[in-house]
Amino acid sequence: MTDDALYVYGVIENEDLDLDIEGVNGAERAYTVSYQSLAAVVSDIDTVEPERSDENVQCHDEVLQTILEHDGGRTVVPMSFGMGFKNKRTLKNVLRNARPVFSRTLREIDGMVELGLKVLTDEDADVDTDEIVAEVEERFDRISVNVVENQLFSDRLVINRSYLVERADREAFNEAVGEFEDDHDELLVQYTGPWAPYNFVDIEITAQR
């Protein structure tokens, strides 16, 4: 089967990039397809509907993280998993039609990354969850530009939040997480990122792909 389709990871400001990196469906490189001020980060792929396997989703995230951090880092508008396009022409059509919204979003999240924070109680622990929530808000809200509360999918989860943070404030955020962990031996903390700001962009591609 030929790799005549394109898989899109995200959109950045126009820039030529070509990276040897494992992509979705075994792709071996990610590169940019430009349209005016924008560039889509893509891989050649043999289908417009790749399987949503754990491995593929992980590759999607890793390409975005690499683009986000590569060579000093840049702002990325991430696509959700599964954006395959028939060819460059259809992709460029989408970039042309959605250029105002991509450009606005790139401005809105310029220089920012997403960080994830999950806090769990130990099993059978007796903790005041309201107090933990209030403390987390007090410590982290001031270092972030925006915050999204995600689903508490476990009874043990007290906090599951995504923070939009300026790159310049990442160190301060890291330190705040470290201090929070030091002060709470009774809690388990999972701190992840930086991610492309999935939870802070909302662009729906409905055009013919």
Binding site: L120, F153, S154, R156, L188, Q190
Partner: protein
């Protein structure tokens, strides 16, 4: 006669249908299973579950999810049999 049957039978079908829908929704709670999958992953990442425990629980939950999705698919297709 048909009209009488129809009137008498209609609410009965609706109730059975509703009970069946409730039972399927309750027994095959897709959202609940997806939450358990996420919890399993998180506890593994945090070192609370070892790899074999994580993998066996994952396989169990994925099988449950597949069954649940099939049940809901049948429900959506109205593949419900009501015996008179």
């Amino acid at each position: 006669m048909f009209i009488v049957d129809d009137i008498l039978f209609q609410p009965f079908i609706s109730i059975l249908d509703a009970i069946h829908t409730l039972a399927v929704t309750e027994m095959y709670n897709i959202e609940g299973i997806q939450s358990d999958l996420k919890e399993n992953q998180l506890l593994y990442e945090l070192g609370e579950r070892d790899q074999s425990e994580y993998e066996s629980r994952k396989a169990e939950l994925e099988a449950e999810l597949e069954t649940a999705e099939l049940a809901h698919e049948q429900l959506d297709n109205k593949n419900i049999q009501i015996r008179q």
